[in-house]
């Protein structure tokens, strides 16, 4: 049961967005740029960082929907994002992404947990300044989204099919509300 009178029948962050459109607009824009804008990191990689951080923050809505988005950027294959969430060090992803996921894990805990060693390891695997910046900002942004979704106790669907449909839309159409 949500903590405030959110519009009924809308899941997770969507209910918050419907309640307060003035804050929804910049939050949607931030997600669109971070996860789908032109980048040397693929959208799949960036969605996996988002799902990974959300999983660490124990936010079911965000981790399930962004896992689905990651999968739908990879021909509907959930196995990679699932491996990343379970044990990223042995997941079938690049060494560079593993080093960036370590940075994301530190940021999820606290910005102060990121060490220069963590940054150096990412650089050793070929990460650029921009990729490091974006990893930190994606992890920080999901530290916000997760707290918003759970802090208001928004409705969390339990049905995998609902998240799969959300993920398809997120991957195909993105985050900006084009109807308004």
């Amino acid at each position: 049961m949500p903590h405030i009178g959110l519009p009924p029948g809308l899941p997770g962050i969507v209910s918050g967005f419907a309640f307060r459109p003035e804050t929804a607009k910049p939050m949607r824009e931030l997600a669109e740029i971070l996860l789908r804008g032109p980048n040397t990191l693929t959208s799949a990689e960036r969605e996996m960082i988002a799902a990974f951080v959300s999983s660490r923050n124990d936010c079911h809505f965000c981790q399930a929907s962004h896992s689905a988005a990651a999968a739908h950027h990879q021909q509907g294959d959930y196995s990679i994002v699932n491996a990343v969430k379970q044990h990223y060090e042995s997941a079938p992803v690049s060494h560079k992404l593993k080093a960036l996921l370590t940075i994301a894990a530190r940021v999820q805990e606290s910005g102060r947990c990121v060490s220069s060693d963590d940054i150096q390891k990412a650089r050793d695997e070929g990460a650029t300044d921009r990729e490091i910046h974006d990893t930190v900002l994606i992890a920080a942004a999901f530290s916000m989204f997760n707290r918003y979704v759970d802090g208001l106790a928004t409705f969390t669907p339990t049905d995998d099919a609902a998240y799969d449909a959300m993920g398809q839309r997120m991957a195909r159409e993105g985050y900006v509300d084009r109807s308004s």
Binding site: I4, R20, T23, P26, G111, D129, Y148, G151
Partner: protein, 183 residues
């Protein structure tokens, strides 16, 4: 020394906003609506939520600047702001603000820590749905900012006057996007 190469001479989040202006725009839009938009919570109350969460997250830059802004908005009330951020339950502030600061602190820990009892306490003291929503979102947003600022080891000035000066500019003119300074 920051972990990536950032524009010279800019502190904290301002260096990051100058580094990537496209993500700066929605971040600036969000902070404007949350902290300065028309509201039943005063700008100072909202800045206090921001400063308090930033103190909890041990982010010196964010705590210092938002504490300085709140102090200026309350009439150069540095000591009051320090008392509110360190011991809100005993500070001379409204019961509603105490209850909202409590919700903000819980949100900073984890969204899942906010309980129905926390929210009921805020409602008993007159908090509306919008005030509760924005308290949670301000706290969540500062969890983003604190991690962004410290995660990239941006420059944190240590002189309190630096923050006081900057606070004066923000209170007078708002949170404007900083242009990259000429070299």
């Amino acid at each position: 020394m920051a972990y990536i190469e950032l524009p010279d001479g800019l502190p904290g989040i301002r260096a990051l906003l100058a580094y990537r202006p496209d993500t700066a725009r929605p971040l600036n839009d969000l902070v404007d609506v949350l902290l300065r938009g028309p509201h039943t919570l005063t700008p100072a109350e909202r800045e206090l939520i921001a400063a308090s969460v930033s103190a909890r997250n041990d982010c010196t830059y964010c705590q210092s600047i938002h504490g300085a802004i709140a102090a200026r908005q309350l009439g150069d009330a540095d000591d009051l702001v320090a008392q509110i951020t360190s011991d809100p339950e005993r500070a001379p502030i409204s019961p509603k603000l105490k209850a909202l600061l409590h919700i903000a602190g819980k949100t900073a820990e984890s969204g899942r820590c906010v309980t129905a009892e926390d929210v009921a306490r805020a409602r008993e003291h007159g908090a509306t749905d919008l005030e509760i929503h924005d308290t949670v979102l301000i706290a969540a947003f500062f969890c983003l900012c604190n991690r962004y600022v410290d995660g990239l080891a941006t420059w944190t000035p240590s002189d309190p006057d630096f923050y006081r000066q900057r606070a004066k500019t923000i209170v007078d003119n708002g949170y404007t996007l900083t242009a990259i300074p000429a070299r």
